[in-house]
Point group: C2
Chain length 207, copies 2
């Protein structure tokens, strides 16, 4: 049924998908209104249900569609060639911030999907829908250069500390930036301080 939809003008496709994404993102499945979606997409009710048989199907389509966009953009980046754990995690943090800036609605959508309580949806939203994310997450810590660590250091725990620190710092920065219409920022200024934290931890854990 959705194959018809994909033959539509790209622009109309986008209008529909974005309208739906936003509605679901900030109301969740149950409270999201198909009436609102068609209104803000500028199409008729009938058309929406012509392409998607029902609300649930639309919701699940969005899920698969946008996770692909996000993951493609995230993993074509070359972070994983970098074997120094600090550099890699810093790059990942910055790249994540860029994505959050570029597609905030998608992040909101998955955040709300993660806590979705609607009885209609939570059974369909099998763990497989989140598997991709889980697997992606674990790749972050693969193939790290272990030779740089001091002898006798518990490396896994050191990496925990490093990643919690960069995550904490990243959240702090992002919560400060949130809402700013500062689209030209490439975060170099915002993340300058990250290097201070990194130096402190390098001194502690690296040779």
């Amino acid at each position: 049924m959705t194959s018809k939809f994909l033959n539509l003008h790209k622009e109309k496709q986008q209008r529909i998908l974005n309208a739906a994404l936003n509605e679901f993102a900030n109301k969740g499945f149950d409270r999201a209104s198909t009436n609102e979606i068609v209104k803000s997409a500028g199409i008729s009710k009938g058309l929406l249900f012509h392409y998607f048989n029902n609300k649930k199907e639309l919701y699940l389509f969005l899920h698969e569609y946008f996770i692909e966009i996000l993951m493609k953009e995230f993993f074509t980046s070359e972070h994983f060639a970098e074997r120094d754990v600090f550099e890699r995690l810093k790059k990942i943090m910055i790249s994540k911030s860029h994505l959050m800036k570029k597609y905030p609605e998608i992040f909101d959508f998955y955040m709300s999907a993660y806590i979705e309580t609607s009885s209609e949806i939570k059974n369909e939203l099998t763990s497989s829908h989140f598997d991709l994310m889980a697997r992606s997450y674990s790749r972050i810590f693969e193939n790290i250069d272990t030779s740089k660590f001091k002898e006798g250091i518990d490396m896994n725990k050191a990496i925990d500390i490093i990643s919690w620190t960069l995550e904490g710092y990243g959240n702090q920065v992002m919560s400060g930036v949130k809402g700013l219409r500062n689209s030209e920022a490439d975060f170099t200024r915002e993340f300058a301080e990250a290097d201070v934290y990194i130096d402190m931890l390098k001194r502690a854990f690296y040779k």
Copy 2:
């Protein structure tokens, strides 16, 4: 109007408050149903609206009522006498875990209140409702013993790292414990590993 309510049998009070707390916690203001609340509290519709003039008033009452419970329990504990930053933050982390275990619904309620989008409520839920939390949070870092740190260390950043680490570790533990009906746990076993992280950071930042 709520003064009448406080003269009720404690047990009936609790039934009503808990029913409402749970309903709001996992549905948010709009989707929460007063019908469900009275059903699960075992009272009639009329009685609920006899004590609380309307849904909004009930919601705001819950807000003030439970934050007090939480804060009282949290701040009568003596964490703030401890001036060693590691000990203090570890105590706080454990105490927070206990509270999350003891009152998970209250945490869920405030989590959902924090992201509440209902137009009816978000204007009433002024920042003042969260001020208490913010002020409490800042107390966590007051009056720390600074004499233990190495010379030349950026102490604020070191404290950031320590607190992000303990927070990260605490979240990891709690997400593993979540849902377990393990009421006798006092977390000493779960948090044993915390000392390893603490030692690593002490070696880095303390004299």
